[in-house]
Subunit: 171 residues, 2 copies
């Protein structure tokens, strides 16, 4: 009878999806490290204007919804967002430098979100220097065997009274 009670308990745990399995083999701490490494790899690829490396962290197909610094209001799917990156990289002469600050990552199981500040410095093809702090937010899911960004939001604040973008703010 004691054995049967234990069996029922384990059955209930199985039904609750709580038995160790593929989706809980990784700890939340391990996942956080994996996401940090993915962001570091993105930084390196972005700095080298490596399009494939930059796009590698985004979910394939139609899953990604991105809100970028520049219009439109939203990019639906990774192909649309790729064109945005092509246009961005095309404006720069030489490498871009990225500096991260206050990066914060929260993970539970197969879901995570992250946010932080990011400084982008470089030079446009017409010689104009760029030095801009932005805010980023990411929504992530563990898909297949990797963490992927399914949502991204990057922006600068604006002055609504003057209608100006505030690209020269410092944290």
């Amino acid at each position: 009878m004691g054995v049967k009670l234990f069996s029922i308990s384990i059955g209930a745990l199985l039904m609750a999806g709580c038995m160790p399995g593929p989706s809980v083999e990784k700890s939340n701490a391990d996942s956080k490290v994996a996401i940090e490494r993915m962001f570091d790899a993105w930084d390196k690829a972005f700095e080298a204007r490596d399009l494939e490396g930059t796009m590698a962290m985004y979910a394939p197909g139609t899953e990604l919804t991105a809100y970028d610094v520049v219009p439109p209001l939203q990019y639906k799917g990774v192909d649309a967002y790729r064109k945005d990156y092509v246009a961005l990289f095309d404006q720069f002469a030489g490498p871009i430098h990225v500096e991260d600050r206050d990066q914060h990552i929260e993970v539970q199981g197969d879901l995570a979100f992250a946010y932080g500040l990011e400084r982008m410095t470089g030079k446009l093809k017409d010689g104009t220097p760029v030095d801009m702090w932005m805010r980023y937010s990411e929504g992530l899911r563990f898909i297949g065997n990797d963490w992927k960004v399914v949502h991204e939001h990057v922006s600068v604040p604006v002055d609504l009274a003057t209608g100006k973008a505030l690209t020269d703010l410092k944290p």
Copy 2:
């Protein structure tokens, strides 16, 4: 011996935090509904310029990090963000109208993120009409007995060539 094996298994599950308890009583589907209701309540409070109702969904203390449409780059803690809302409400004459579109919520256990588009319409005290589509992203945690926003990001795109905020885009 059989009984002892079962005991060890349940002990291991307990250590993994997998036994049914307060944090797994709610399903992810229930949580999604609770978060939708919280956002609806925020909409109603915001439209009525009800400061306490508007602030109710944010995590207390220092946990919140918010990136708003307007400067500074970031607000740390709910008290700083409350001042931002006081300043916003003070600019409007009469009620504000909010319209949501493409709201998306993902939940796992005690963690969630959400994003979507939001239109704000109303009239400033000087008579200027406001009609602006924005993008929002939210990071949420189940704290105590409620879902709370621990991260918020609201923005409009900007035109980097002209330095202008794009407050007249439509989805």
